[in-house]
């Protein structure tokens, strides 16, 4: 399978199912790549897979694609591949790949089930930009006949918040779109803040759409709980110390990285929220405190 085909397959996945997480789409494409791969040796296969992951990262520069790809690779090669026959090895890998895919497709549902109990009746929730996981959580809470109102920030520069408001409106949840600058003003009114994540880093902090860090700082100042909902395939082996330390390849969109020379003129798309500002993380592995994330990462990666 050529790289161009891979990218096309990936884009097709996202077009067909806009609700799917980009990491899941990436993993589906990688699985397809694995099935069609022609290499003769295990090492060659791994090299091709790594190249494929890099290619996908270039297409969609979000952290989740990078983390999902690496976890996929680790998961399928965990079986140490003792079979002497290459095709048998490949079959085992494909089987494990399918298993992995099935597991992570269910993870959003698991997170939703865990989190919606934290939303009490009459709650006012603040959320940032458009996150499908947060949508799922709110969906579950609404299905549970809870009454709550939601404030969504507009989240410039791509106005993703308005899309979120539309989706929430369809679920008959009272929603208000607010400006990004209103976060400080509105924090005294809300009861809790729930945001999604593009990536969860080793320190227990999260990388998310720009404006999340601001929201976290405000909620800490007002002593409001700040919850993050994320699936486990978003755990990534980064350890940023501050905003500058986040690698450039995640901060900007993929096409901007390729075309623009001076990144200082560009608007970063993500920021880093340190673990001290986060109350709890809801993942399909359970409800974790930020310091437990490192524990889980060590289990996943070591």
């Amino acid at each position: 399978m050529e790289e161009a085909e891979l990218v096309e397959y990936f884009r097709a996945q996202i077009r067909e199912d806009p609700d799917v997480a980009s990491a899941v789409a990436a993993i589906r494409s990688l699985l397809e790549f694995l099935k069609r791969d022609q290499s003769e040796t295990i090492l060659g296969l791994r090299e091709n897979m790594t190249k494929a992951i890099h290619r996908l990262e270039e297409t969609d520069s979000s952290v989740a694609v990078s983390s999902g790809g690496e976890l996929f690779l680790r998961f399928i090669s965990l079986t140490s591949l003792e079979h002497p026959d290459l095709s048998q090895c490949k079959n085992v890998m494909i089987e494990r790949g399918e298993l992995f895919l099935k597991k992570i497709s269910l993870s959003r549902g698991k997170v939703g089930k865990l989190c919606h109990t934290f939303i009490k009746d009459g709650a006012k929730i603040l959320t940032h930009s458009s996150s499908r996981v947060v949508l799922k959580v709110l969906e579950n809470a609404a299905a549970d006949n809870k009454r709550f109102t939601v404030y969504v920030t507009e989240s410039q520069p791509d106005s993703a918040g308005k899309r979120m408001a539309q989706k929430l409106g369809k679920l008959n949840i009272p929603v208000t779109v607010v400006l990004d600058a209103v976060v400080g003003y509105i924090m005294e009114k809300v009861d809790l803040v729930i945001v999604g994540a593009e990536g969860v880093v080793e320190s227990g902090g999260v990388i998310n759409k720009i404006g999340t860090y601001q929201m976290a700082v405000c909620s800490k100042a007002h002593n409001k709980p700040f919850y993050v909902v994320a699936e486990s395939f978003k755990f990534v082996r980064l350890y940023p110390l501050n905003q500058q330390d986040v690698p450039d390849r995640f901060k900007y969109k993929a096409d901007i990285l390729k075309t623009v020379k001076d990144l200082n003129q560009e608007h970063p798309m993500i920021d880093y929220t340190p673990p001290s500002l986060i109350t709890l993380l809801f993942t399909d592995l359970g409800v974790l405190t930020p310091s437990a994330v490192s524990d889980e990462l060590i289990k996943l990666y070591l």
Partner: protein
């Protein structure tokens, strides 16, 4: 053999039965968990074989000394065990063994110890052969055993119990038995730290050792002197020097007849370790290294020939140094260099071999950064770090710790070394480190601690008081402009000089810990310890 003596065997049996149990218990308490009953028996056997000829010289005076010892030991035992002991042998004892004449003997002499052990050996042999006493012996030994098992005694390490006279006495006895000189404390100790030792560099413990020292290997004596005079300082340096000295010891070691290398060598190491901890309290890294060596020694199979075993141990020590120290520092540099970007201003404190290595590597990899070295009295270790960095060509600034808040606004990162990482995530390091971390936090400067995994220890500590080290107070005396201040500090009764060596930094002030396993947050230290234990 007791019968062939032709002496009053029965009375010895009865009188020393209690001694047997008393001494076994005291032995167990003094020597800690290191010796099992078999090893103790072997010790006794060995001593008995050596001194069998001299037995005839000792006469009745020995018996009386043993009886007196029994009464001396009785009060020093904990109350829980003595009733059990006293109750059990009572039906068996015919003659009164507990003579009310409790002549206070200050400490056991070697001759008395040998005699005790020989007599114990006799009684054990007699009790095994004599069926009549067999049942009663086991009955009496059982109540002795159960109190030990039911109440696992929680022992504080002796080096933080200096103000407890009972603990001191036990230590003195233990050192006497191992023939290690006891070092006395020096000068007035500040009351908050009176539970710690405070030694003077002018009285090294090596002065009290006779030449040639029979019990302590000369390379260990040299090492102890180097530690106590501060010639070898720094966690890694001390561990490596210790391991090299142990290699020498193993090289010169020869198994005595009827002994197994795996058991005897461990016993031989105990007095060395006591001696070294008298010279300077052991660091966490040294403790882990010693544990590892002891485990390797006891894992040597008994059918292994001596040369083969020695070679294996040498290899094992070499690989420990290579893996845990040298390769670990390579791995840590690799991770740390990712965190150093061009234009950085890096603050370091004191002289950490690991941090210096990282900075030198980063400089070789063409990173553009400058370094601020912070130093503090009285050790002024920062000067050594400054020397090494400037030699490489790195741009450095040198300040004392009092100028810290002045210089921190310029700093982009702080790199600190560690002496040990505790199980609750606290970082134990040179005194002044927690101050740097605190001020850096206030200025929102990221603090990175670099530490190899062999320095992780299972201890938990939340403050710097409970377990620390007091250095020589005379170090604080300074001569300036011809005047020596504080020269006569001992004459002023209310004046105490405090020269702390370590302090403890809470994990909230540390942003990142770089270890050879990767970059982890400070709170994940117990996870690493758990993973390490699983691996072993």
């Amino acid at each position: 053999m007791a019968d062939s003596d032709g002496r009053q065997v029965d009375s010895i049996n009865h009188s020393t039965e209690e001694d047997v149990k008393l001494q076994e218990v005291v032995q167990a308490k003094c020597e800690g968990k290191e010796l099992t009953k078999e090893e103790k028996q072997r010790l006794r056997k060995e001593k008995k074989q050596h001194k069998k000829n001299k037995k005839d010289d000792r006469g009745p005076p020995e018996k009386e000394k043993e009886k007196e010892k029994a009464s001396v030991l009785a009060p020093s035992k904990p109350a829980t065990q003595s009733p059990a002991h006293k109750a059990a042998p009572v039906p068996v004892n015919a003659s009164a063994s507990e003579s009310p004449v409790a002549a206070e003997k200050p400490a056991k002499s070697k001759a008395e110890q040998r005699a005790e052990r020989r007599a114990r050996q006799d009684t054990e042999r007699a009790s095994k052969q004599g069926k009549k006493e067999g049942g009663q012996q086991s009955a009496s030994s059982k109540p002795k055993a159960t109190p030990n098992e039911l109440q696992p005694v929680k022992r504080l390490p002796e080096h933080i119990q200096v103000d407890d006279p009972a603990a001191l006495k036990k230590l003195a006895k233990k050192l006497e038995r191992q023939q290690v000189p006891l070092r006395s404390d020096y000068g007035y100790k500040v009351s908050l730290f009176s539970h710690l030792h405070q030694y003077s560099r002018k009285n090294p413990p090596t002065q009290q050792i006779s030449i040639p020292a029979t019990v302590i290997h000369p390379s260990i004596v040299r090492l102890g002197l180097q530690y106590s005079q501060g010639i070898i300082a720094g966690s890694n340096a001390r561990s490596v020097a210790l391991l090299h000295a142990f290699k020498q010891v193993i090289q010169d070691y020869s198994t005595p007849p009827n002994e197994e290398l795996s058991r005897d060598l461990v016993n031989k190491l105990s007095p060395y370790i006591s001696f070294l901890s008298q010279c300077r309290p052991l660091s966490a890294s040294m403790g882990n290294a010693i544990k590892h060596i002891k485990k390797e020694i006891s894992n040597i199979p008994s059918q292994c020939k001596e040369e083969e075993a020695k070679r294996r141990l040498q290899e094992c020590i070499d690989s420990y140094i290579n893996e845990k120290i040298i390769l670990a520092s390579e791995a840590i540099s690799k991770y740390a260099i990712e965190k150093i970007s061009d234009g950085d201003v890096i603050l370091v404190y004191g002289c950490s071999s690991l941090v210096n290595h990282i900075l030198c590597e980063a400089f070789e990899k063409q990173r553009k950064f400058r370094v601020i070295v912070v130093d503090s009295r009285p050790r002024l270790e920062g000067r050594e770090a400054l020397r090494r960095l400037v030699k490489k060509g790195i741009r450095c600034t040198y300040v004392l710790i009092s100028a810290l808040s002045y210089i921190l606004p310029e700093v982009s990162k702080v790199f600190l070394g560690a002496h040990a990482l505790l199980a609750n995530g606290y970082v134990m390091s040179r005194v002044g480190t927690s101050q740097i971390a605190l001020v850096a936090k206030a200025y929102n400067v990221p603090v990175l601690v670099c530490c190899e995994t062999y320095k992780f220890c299972e201890r938990v500590q939340t403050d710097s008081f409970v377990s620390n080290e007091l250095d020589d107070p005379d170090d604080l005396i300074v001569t300036r402009n011809g005047k020596t201040h504080l020269e006569n500090w001992q004459t002023v009764k209310s004046l105490g000089l405090l020269n702390l060596v370590y302090d403890v930094t809470p994990p909230d002030f540390v942003d990142l810990v770089i270890t050879d396993l990767g970059m982890i947050p400070c709170t994940s230290v117990p996870v690493v310890l758990r993973v390490k234990n699983v691996d072993q």
